[in-house]
């Protein structure tokens, strides 16, 4: 038993060492400055916690005894600590003796090493590395191992407690969004200096937290009147938000909610119908470009000369923003059907690859049909929405429009979810053959999923074009698809509030984290990995998706003898 703990600990330690080495080699210590070692140790503690908790099932969790747990944790910390200390001591030694390793490992600079030792960078070059620096470093990481074990015990204790949904916790959950909103408004007072330079960032973060906690509050509220009243109050609060935020904050929220619109559309395709679509950006691009043609026909050489030859003046917008809405949506919907028809017979991986190609084809069209789309020079001078002579072009109004759009789309998606079509989508996701043999017309059901998803993306694209006023093919790369898919997965596939939360986390948080610029990508990758381990169903999952991933693990779930083998549980598209 003891031997196994030691073995397991060494293994975990080696893995943690690899991750820490990576973080050191990309220069994280330099960025963090003086607290580098403490932050790395904290990260290490999280890694150890994830590794030590092991199996996710409640039983595996409860059965772990503290003594072997701490032995494993300490061993892991010691191994990782010793190895990192040796590594940095080696690098420091090389630096001090004047060996130039930077051409090979360009982040190995005195700054980086000095941050790990907590000394002035000059000291290392002058050959004065602190004698006990490596020991100090090792102790820190070893402590992290102990901390990881402690975290497992704390989590276990928390899980064994059954939380009462009623009472104080529930009311706190319901009141939290309003407290946060009050905080946002209070921070808006110029006299308040809390947060100093970061005050704007703090407000943005609080605003996003208010929206996020509002979603949780809705879950905590009792269905019926309580929920309806809360929804109304939250709506009023949300309506206040654009008027209290400043330009930059509104512009961030605007883009977040444009992605909410997209995410809700993709959620129908991937979350409800289980069709993994990696080319979703295509419909966003179609929406944006169709609006560009309607609003700025003069920006397209071929289109404007065609209009002129027909005797239609091409110097002004053809339609207003509002009249363009049905046109762009129909165009995107047709695009959805056109993509849908060839991929009707494809499943899983194959579907993903074909849709990915479709997304790229549309982008390359925009790039290379220079006569029509003005190629890489883009479509310029797209008009913002106007109403009675008032321009909706500023960030605040775009945010309001995005909120409205997202609201309408969320409502539509919610209604569809509980409908005959929604049931057919879910049945199709679970078992395509059986769904068909139960009476679901797969062609119709799939095409409707693609088309409705595309409609929403088209609307989002139009709003995006109106916001940017100038669009280029580069705005519509594969990464837009990937981002949208990620936010759907992070939020919880098939869950409408989850999409909002996912967009806040994936499109909003990076703006808040501007301070650590390039490292936010690393942080995100880590966050995604951790989330997929700890909470694979997403932050705010639909009840159905929870059932799929946690069947039998839930408290109160019927203890059902697992039958020999229930069919093939296809989760295509659900894995990602």
């Amino acid at each position: 038993m003891r031997l196994r703990s030691l073995q397991r600990g060494s293994r975990i330690g080696a893995i943690a060492f690899a991750i820490l080495t990576y973080l050191i080699l990309i220069g994280l210590p330099t960025r963090l400055g003086a607290p580098a070692m403490s932050v790395l140790a904290l990260l290490a503690a999280l890694i150890f916690w994830l590794a030590l908790r092991g199996g996710k099932s409640k039983q595996a969790f409860a059965n772990r005894a503290p003594a072997p747990l701490f032995l494993t944790g300490t061993t892991a910390g010691f191994v990782a600590g010793l190895l990192t200390a040796l590594l940095t001591a080696g690098f420091a030694q090389l630096l001090m003796s004047g060996v130039n390793v930077q051409p090979y490992l360009d982040k190995i600079v005195p700054m980086n090493m000095a941050a790990l030792y907590g000394v002035m960078p000059g000291a290392l070059v002058a050959g004065e590395a602190p004698a006990w620096g490596w020991l100090w470093q090792m102790a820190f990481v070893t402590l992290a191992g102990v901390g990881g074990a402690l975290l497992v015990l704390i989590e276990r204790a928390l899980r064994q407690r059954t939380w009462s949904v009623g009472g104080a916790t529930r009311w706190l959950a319901i009141l939290l969004p309003f407290i946060l909103l009050g905080f946002v408004i209070w921070l808006g007072n110029p006299a308040v200096t809390l947060g100093g330079n970061a005050k704007g960032t703090l407000r943005l973060l609080m605003a996003m937290a208010a929206i996020g906690s509002g979603l949780f509050a809705l879950r905590a509220a009792r269905p019926g009147r309580e929920q309806r009243v809360l929804a109304l109050l939250l709506f009023v609060g949300l309506a206040c938000l654009p008027f209290t935020l400043d330009q930059f904050q509104n512009s961030v929220m605007g883009i977040v909610f444009i992605f909410v619109m997209m995410g809700l559309g993709l959620n129908i395709v991937v979350g409800f119908a289980g069709l993994l679509d990696l080319g979703y950006v295509a419909f966003f691009a179609i929406g944006a470009y169709v609006y560009a043609f309607l609003s700025a026909p003069f920006a397209s050489p071929a289109f404007s000369s065609l209009l002129t030859s027909l005797g239609i003046p091409a110097a002004a917008p053809l339609t207003s923003f509002w009249l363009a809405i049905p046109i762009t949506m129909v165009a995107a919907g047709v695009g959805g059907v056109l993509l849908g028809i060839p991929v009707l017979r494809l499943r899983g991986d194959y579907l993903a690859i074909v849709t990915l190609g479709f997304g790229e084809i549309i982008r390359l069209f925009m790039l290379n049909l220079s006569d029509l789309t003005n190629g890489p020079r883009g479509m310029l001078n797209i008009a913002p929405p106007y109403l009675f002579g008032y321009s909706f072009g500023n960030p605040r109004d775009i945010f309001i429009l995005a909120l409205l759009g997202a609201g309408v789309i969320a409502f539509t998606a919610h209604r569809l979810d509980g409908s005959r079509l929604g049931r057919a989508w879910i049945a199709m996701r679970e078992d395509e053959d059986v769904a068909q043999a139960t009476g679901v017309n797969l062609v119709r059901t799939k095409l409707l999923a693609f088309a409705i998803g595309a409609l929403f993306a088209g609307l989002a694209g139009q709003l995006y074009a109106a916001r940017q006023m100038n669009i280029f093919p580069d705005n519509f790369t594969l990464f837009v698809s990937v981002d949208t898919l990620s936010l759907v997965i992070v939020g919880g596939m098939g869950s409408i509030p989850g999409v909002v939360l996912g967009a806040l986390a994936l499109k909003g948080l990076p703006e808040v984290l501007r301070g650590v610029d390039e490292y936010r990508i690393v942080a995100f990758a880590a966050l995604l990995v951790i989330m997929m381990i700890v909470r694979p169903e997403g932050i705010l999952p639909s009840t159905r998706r929870r059932r799929e991933l946690h069947s039998g693990n839930e408290p109160g779930a019927e203890v059902a003898p697992e039958p020999i083998r229930i069919g093939a549980l296809t989760q295509e598209g659900g894995k990602a």
Binding site: R415, A424, I426, D433, A437, N441, A560, P561
Partner: protein
């Protein structure tokens, strides 16, 4: 006229003739059984009948109309529904939702109707849910409608498959080993249910079954498949005493067991 008439149905996988020229006739309001050793082609024939496979040769007439080339959802719409040998429910949906999916072809509501909650849609949804609860009660799952299908006990899952199939208001119900894996009490209940399906709902039944007690006591007619060919057909007593059947499938001991 027979409700279902399969004429010389042939299904070939590569070089293997899974079903070779099988004729099968099922009369309205009867219970017909299909038996045969493992790999005899029973489930393949079922898959041909329900449109999952397209037979290479032969014709399948349902109420006089040919089914060959139709998609399985079109066949459901005509009035044929089935269950599966290895249970294939929509596991994360509740029992009610499973039955509602079963009713899919009988419902008319459109996406627009659902978005705007038109009175027609709302009425239809209410009626559908009502009917689903009635069907669950009929098969013996009253009060279990809101349970997630995957969490139901094995026997209940089999019953839910029947209820889901009934959702489409079928005239012919194909049951693929309905009593497989059940204990004697559950098997008796299943047999009673099959009788009630015919007597109370007027549904014609075609079933595949390995449990000879079930087959012999429940069936009006029995057809025997072996290596993709039909080797015997007739009333249970006739089939039981057919020497070819005994040789191919039943074996002397089973025959003796039924003689006492």
């Amino acid at each position: 006229m027979a409700l279902l008439e399969a004429k010389a149905v042939t299904k070939i996988f590569g070089g293997l003739v899974a079903v070779g020229g099988v004729d099968l006739t099922v009369e309205e309001r009867t219970i017909a059984s299909l038996i045969g050793p493992n790999g005899a082609g029973k489930t393949t024939l079922f898959n041909c009948l329900t449109g999952l496979y397209r037979p290479e040769e032969g014709d399948i007439l349902f109420d006089g109309a040919s089914l060959v080339g139709l998609r399985s959802d079109q066949i459901v719409a005509l009035g044929m529904a089935r269950t599966y040998q290895n249970i294939r429910l929509f596991g994360s949906m509740t029992a009610i939702e499973n039955v509602l999916v079963g009713q899919h072809v009988r419902l008319r509501s459109t996406p627009l109707g659902a978005i705007f909650q038109s009175p027609g849609t709302r009425r239809e949804e209410q009626r559908a849910e009502q009917y689903a609860r009635e069907l669950l009660a009929f098969v013996g799952l009253a009060g279990k409608g809101d349970m997630v299908a995957r969490n139901l006990p094995y026997g209940d899952q089999r019953l839910l498959e029947v209820a889901r199939a009934l959702g489409s208001r079928p005239r012919l119900l194909l049951l693929d080993e309905p009593a497989a894996g059940m204990n004697p009490r559950e098997t008796d209940a299943m047999m009673a249910l099959i009788h009630r399906l015919r007597d109370e709902l007027g549904i014609t039944i075609l079933l595949i079954e390995h449990d000879m007690k079930v087959v012999m006591s429940i069936s009006d007619r029995v057809s025997v498949l072996d290596y993709g060919k039909k080797i015997a057909e007739g009333r249970p007593a006739e089939v039981r005493s057919d020497p070819r059947v005994i040789e191919a499938y039943l074996g002397a001991s089973v025959l003796a067991g039924h003689n006492d």
